[in-house]
């Protein structure tokens, strides 16, 4: 499994966007569709796909597309 492909697929499906939209502007505060429902769905899709269990702090501060990659690396996912 290519982690970045999988990561991008989850973002595309969760937010209904194309791959071009996934850049440094793709943040919790900057994207209107990133609400609490989307956030819950994102977190559980990522946990399922990468077989990880996020700490509360990481869930609450999962604030952007790029920052999320850094968080996953802490859980041993290799990008």
């Amino acid at each position: 499994m290519n982690a970045l492909n999988e990561y991008n697929r989850i973002f595309r499906e969760t937010f209904g966007v194309s791959e071009d939209a996934l850049n440094e502007d793709f943040t919790f505060n900057g994207v209107a569709v990133w609400d609490s429902v989307a956030h819950m769905s994102l977190i559980s899709s990522l946990e399922d796909a990468f077989d990880v269990m996020f700490d509360v702090d990481d869930i609450l501060h999962y604030g952007s597309y790029f920052h999320g990659i850094e968080i996953l690396k802490h859980y041993g996912v290799e990008f």
Partner: protein, 471 residues
Amino acid sequence: MFLNVDKHDQNKTAIKDDSGFNLTYADVCRTIDEFKALNIPRSVVFCLCENSAGSLIGYLAFENNKQVPLLLSAGLDEGLRHNLEFMYTPSYYWIPERKEQEIKGEKLYSAYGFVLLKTEYDPYPINPKLSMLLTTSGSTGSPKLVRHKYGNLEANAENVAKVFSWTENEIGICDLPMNYTMGLNVINSHLYAGASVLMVKANLMDPDFWEFIKINEGSSFCGVPFSYEIMRRIGFDKMDLPKLHTLAEGGGKLTDKMFKWIASYAKNSGKRFCATFGTSETSARMAFLDPSLAMEKIGSIGKAIPNGELFLLDEVAGEDGSTTGELGYRGPNVTMGYALCRDDLLKDDEFCGEYHTGDIAKRDADGYYYIIGRKGRFLKLFGLRVSLDETERILKTQYPSSDFVCTGDDRHMNVFCTNEAIKDEIVPFISAKTNIHNSAFHVLWVDRIPRNEYGKVRFAELEDYLIDKKH
């Protein structure tokens, strides 16, 4: 004045929001008077709501000054808003400043980030009892509205404040949208008691939300089942929120597991958990479970609120002393009925103080009520009521050559569709249209929709199809 806002301590904070506004009761009364000085005729006003002081003050002023607001979400899809505007021709709009470009009109007044626009439509006759309008299914922009009469909101505010024992020291957290009946009741019941209301735009997944309610010492919270799912996931039970004393739930049925989780958390941390039940048709709440019984009556909505009465229709007695039937309610908060078009705003009271909910309920031998099912064709997705008929109508308008049927439960909506070519477009389309996250929708392609000779859908056959799919 509305909710006695002029009788409360005028120096006390009435409304505080997370956009930086802080209004005392004196500010609220002064702003209501400024609205009054505009001499707006009695007419329908579309309020595009968000959880902020500006949004709230407009509603309070219109109620006080006898205009008739229709509360809609500021996030409502443009096409659906146009549809409602065409049907109900509002003479005024109360909207966030950022929406000024989208909606044409003459600017008459502004306060706390909101503006009042006069549209091109003239006022038209409306029933003198009519006080406010809410949609029955907010996210689909359903043209079916609930007609509130004068006294509904006040009675529910008073009786809910009484059953929760709100005092002026309470600091209520309004996280549910104010255009949602339960959110509006959180506001009304606290203001009625002379307490303060925190209007929060940040959502529960945002660390700013928890920071804001902690700093501002929020003391009572009300959530829908999905709110509690989030809170459980983000470790709410480990958070340090010493001032938060009351956790209320409404707007959908919690699983028994979740009910127990909240009830035992409340018990162990010296807080109280209050399960409630309400509908738009009853200006929010009808039932309340005494928090001291939360661990004993798992899953119950309790008994009727003060001055209200719950009863069952078409009762069937069970062996354990319980009774089952459709839940009905009588009380001063029962609204007048529905409106399906502009002319209906002239209609008189059709409910006459009695409402049949369409929910199937059980009453146990001690007289406590439990919701166990539903008669009507609607779901509650993330706490939002979504009409299945309305969703089908939206889909058929967009794809006239295809046939659709929607079913589901409170977790997912199944969209049965006869056109394989559009299968992949449906979820993005309906999710954008309703503003409900795409994870709630499942699309299933079928050759044809099974119908009987009268054209009625054979739902049992669709259910069988779903079961086949899963195996």
